[in-house]
Subunit: 326 residues, 2 copies
DNA sequence: ATGAAAGCGCTAACAT
DNA sequence: ATGTTAGCGCTTTCAT
């Protein structure tokens, strides 16, 4: 009845429970013969250690708590990468979803109840003060959002470099009239705007910034402004993929892409990869973001000093919306 | 040091641990005065019960294990709805993500290690035999996939009805020449095709099925076939939203939507709601799917008989890609 | 290398 | 209504 316990395995293998524990944690202190015998007994019974008991018995839970937005596909990528990063550090992940009907603080609270050793928050919207409060009780690392809060570490993509890569790609193709569709006051927007502007100036070209925003609608609206303000531009860098998709939808009515106009997005979302969109874009390095987040959390736990604001370079994903100017 | 335990709260409130336990589970057996005093003491210390210990102490974990695809936004909706459904039944959720680098069986295994009472698998790809094996040790309910496996309950959307709703919507608008872009051998495709065909026949109209598939590309390709095979059709029901988006991308080059052609998708994905797409579509009822999944799992736990294949009616989401024929 | 025994922080059955 | 006591299934000293 019920699942076999450590006791059952010990009995079958003819050893004490302690030994079974040693074997299953592969800790030192058991002969190879015993190890084999215990494992065989365990396998025969279909034994699997009870994770709850394991957590309770240990001083350290070796659990990393992660909150994520269940709708953001970028968070999906990060979660996947975090599993890998955590595992190689001997940690397990506790997932807690954030959704319209499930607030971030609830999600965090439930992680705390599991006694996670550290918190990794993906794109949190909590106020800096709330984040700082969390950081007082355990290491707290914020991923993909630029915030300054005492004791909180942040790991994010270097958006200034991302914009630079976009512009340099267009320069290399031979473009000189390059406009930027702005992201308004969306997080990341100032950095991306700066990267664009600096790179243009370094190339002794005149920056031209068209107001915009993060949604498809705002991209579509920006397309109309663009046609008025920068009719002679041969290329644009757009704040993000969503906006770029809206922009493309309108712009294609009067321009062939990429023959007459090159367009480059940002984020490398799923929609950018769709074959009928096939948008050149800038990708965030999720494996590195995840690895750094994990490393930072563990460093804090170990009492090692950390870099409170780490920035990871993104990469360019060339697709078919960019090409040489005609 | 460390977080306060039940012992600390008991000491501060001047009662025994058992009373504190009673109060925090709000179980009967404590006077209102005591209850208030304990709660006050707990609040002062910032006490929160240790979830691990709670799990271990209880005979029943009151934990529902959920596997989901971290990339599927539909799964995101379901997870959110499951939180709600589980909570109102006094259960908590344990989430385990499935991703390219994290197999479904791994995800399930980790859930089992937490001693979840039941498993809720979202769109699993495990073989029926594997599912049946799981169902032997605990209630196992499959959501959003039609499978037959002994002991496994499935909860899914009634796709035949979904297609019927789509066709009826078009009939109500006055269309009579309605084609269907097929989904090939994708799960759900036969049901949707049947729903279309039956509804057409019931209206004494001739069904016309154009081969297709679940991706944007296949939708785009189907658009070309459609123009050849059904040039006089005034409306189409497309297998799913992704395919519909590809279809629209091509069809708009020669037809105005909805003036010359009405298009209706299926799934109500995020992309369908995008304002520049604004696709009329069929939505799955995630709250009900979640509620039924939970209810079914709990019924199995209670030993109550269950309906092994439950089907939930979808609803029509009218947007701007459908309108009366000219 | 192996075993005995004391927790981990709760829940739950029982006694008062 | 309140307190006592024995687990839950592990981990972790500490002996042997």
């Amino acid at each position: 009845m019920g699942r076999p316990t450590m006791e059952d395995v010990a009995a079958l293998a003819g050893v004490s429970r302690a030994l079974v524990s040693i074997v299953y944690r592969d800790a030192p202190g058991a002969s190879d013969a015993t190890r084999a015998r215990v494992l065989a007994a365990g396998a025969e019974l279909g034994y699997r250690p009870d994770h709850r008991a394991r957590l309770l018995g240990r001083t350290r839970t070796r659990l990393l708590g992660v909150t994520f937005d269940v709708q953001a596909s970028f968070h999906g990528d990060l979660v996947e990468a975090l599993y890998t990063a955590a595992e190689s550090a001997g940690y397990d992940l506790a997932l807690s979803a954030v959704a319209p009907s499930r607030s971030e603080s609830r999600a965090v609270q439930s992680l705390l109840d599991y006694r996670c050793e550290a918190l990794i928050l993906l794109g949190p919207t909590l106020k800096p003060s709330a984040l700082a409060a969390l950081a007082e009780s355990q290491p707290t690392v914020v991923v993909a959002r630029k915030v300054r809060a005492p004791g909180v570490d942040v790991v994010r993509t270097d958006d200034t470099t991302g914009s630079r890569l976009a512009v340099e790609h267009l320069l290399a193709l031979g473009h000189t009239k390059i406009a930027h569709i702005d992201g308004g006051k969306t997080p990341g927007s100032p950095e991306r705007r700066t990267g664009y502007r600096n790179t243009m100036r370094a190339a002794r070209l005149t920056p031209l910034i068209v107001p915009g925003g993060p949604t498809e609608d705002e991209g579509a609206r920006a397309a109309k402004t663009f046609l008025d303000d920068a009719p002679r531009a041969t290329a644009v860098t757009v704040f993000n993929d969503r906006s770029a998709v809206g922009f493309l939808d309108i712009i294609r009515q009067s321009r062939r892409v990429p023959d007459e106009l090159s367009v480059i997005g940002y984020d490398n979302t799923t929609v950018a990869a769709l074959s009928h969109i096939d948008l050149t874009t800038i990708a965030q390095d999720t494996p590195r973001l995840a690895a750094h987040a994990t490393t930072t959390a563990l460093a804090r736990l170990a009492g090692t000093p950390t870099t409170p604001d780490q920035t990871i370079p993104p990469t360019l994903i060339p697709r078919t919306t960019t090409g040489p100017p005609r």
